[in-house]
């Protein structure tokens, strides 16, 4: 039902340990899968949002996001970091899972509604743990399709 989440935009083994390199790594992932048409422009938009306030909202989650013309189609990259990333989070805890949201400027409401629902579900600790402890991209996707 939702093309926003696909297995090739998921990595269970994020290499980066700090915020900047984590963002670079995930932006590359999105770029390699043809989600973006202008990598730098998208990254600038992501960093601009981070400057306003960190999207590391605590509980080991970060949701960097941008709405930009540089995006071809709405997608969410999911990166799990077993070691944890210092994302300058509100609660200073290392981030275990990063959802990087890419939305084109002309995104339709359905995509935005799905993201809103995902955001609401992430508050649930059971759901978060399921995601973080997924053994494969496919397993992770099954939790997301329930949205």
């Amino acid at each position: 039902m939702n093309q926003i989440f696909t297995a090739n935009n998921i990595t269970l083994n994020l290499q980066a340990h700090n915020k900047t390199s984590a963002i670079n790594e995930i932006v590359d992932l999105l770029n390699n899968n043809n989600i973006l048409n202008d990598k730098e422009q998208y990254k600038t938009a992501i960093l601009k949002r981070e400057l306003e306030s960190t999207t590391g909202i605590g509980f080991g989650i970060a949701i960097p996001h941008a709405k930009s013309d540089a995006v071809n189609q709405a997608a969410v990259a999911i990166a799990v970091s077993p070691a944890g990333v210092d994302f300058e989070s509100a609660d200073n805890t290392p981030v275990k899972i990063i959802f990087m949201i890419a939305v084109p400027n002309d995104a339709n409401d359905m995509h935005l509604q799905i993201l809103a629902k995902l955001s609401r579900k992430l508050i649930n600790p059971v759901f978060r743990n399921q995601l973080i402890n997924s053994q494969s991209a496919e397993e992770l996707l099954t939790y997301l399709t329930e949205i």
Binding site: T55, A90, S119, I123
Partner: protein
Amino acid sequence: MNKLLGVTGCPTGIAHTFMAAEALQQAAAANNAQIKVETNGAVGVENELTAKDIAEADCIIVACDKNVDMDRFNGKPVIEVPVADGISKADALIKKAISGTVPIRGGQEKGFLEISDDNFNGKPSIGHEIYKHLMAGVSNMIPFVVAGGVLVAISFLWGIYSFDPNSEQYNATAAMFKAVGGASMGLMVPILTAYIANSIANRPGLVAGFVAGTIALSTGSGFIGGILGGFMAGYFAKWMVKILSGLPKQFEGLKSIFLIPLVTVAVIGIIMTLLGSPVSAINKFMMDFLANLQNSNPIFLGIVIGCMSAFDMGGPVNKAAYVTGTLLLGEGNFYFMAGVSAACITPPLVIAIAATIFPNKFTKDERAAGFVNYILGCTHITEGAIPFAAKSPLKVLPILMLSSSISAVLTYMMKVQVPAPHGGFLILALVDKPLTWVACILTGSIVGAIIYGLTRRKPL
């Protein structure tokens, strides 16, 4: 159960807006509170708060990294935090919101009559602005009047001339009470003026406002001069800040502690001094006019005051009568306030007495609320009658206006003196003819209660 409201939003409006909304809803449920959350997301504003929601809310939590309309929350307890706090600290925010310790957001609360109008979305009118600033001044002034008025009145317990060393009644303690009370009363005009200006222009207005108020006091232009000075000082300071906003940052300190105070105080001070004698003549004329009216035409004055006080119960019209009474109190006129107080005390008593003598015309809940109105009435809280009036205003308000008018007219005819601007029957000891005054108020209240009770239909 506590009724809370939330507003969430982030600049992109894709993720955090909704996470914060969800977190607040869950935390509210866990803390046994009700919450409605407005989301300012990329899809626009959803679940928008209505004026009614806001009026009924106990506290509002705004977790936003983008600008949302905040003025609609004036007069309500408001917590403002970044959207991330709405997500990670939702539980703490809800606990704080229901603790009842959240400070009230500044600005004038929308009055009772405005809240009932859900379509009221327009920009505040000029009249409303002026009213808001005037009330900011008045509400800062009232505590000084209450403290001062009651202390002065206490000194009168030793005799009306007990402060005068040359009088036989002289008593050192009484003289001290009168001096302390007098000091507090003496600050009335400067405080009123300063806080009108402060409401318009914040700190820059305060300085010129205080000076203008002090000049109004010393030149005898009194309250009229003070109100005039407050608005001049406020708008002038606001204008100064605006035209100086182009100055380079390095001059910021110089501007706020030197330039603006110096120029505003000089300009407003000189204008106030020049206006002193003409305005004091107007002030004197008005005070004399009102004082004459209460002697020559107590019935007319009583009807006007009664109708004003009961018309919107705590709203702008009621306040206009109340403020006039307070101002005259500062001028040493204790008669005028007696009528205003009587008119303000009457509406809740009408409700309370009606619920007592016509119990079968009221539901159980209404009888309980009616009983509370005895307490509210005796302590000068007119607002107690609002829920009853709101049910059928066209029928109830005229009855309340009639009863308040009767109370006020009788009070003026009996020439009762009430030296304190608030407190209802708690300050009875300070009233010169306490029993007469209570009788005047009860007469109006009982007449009103009988009419109200007879015109009510039995509840189903």
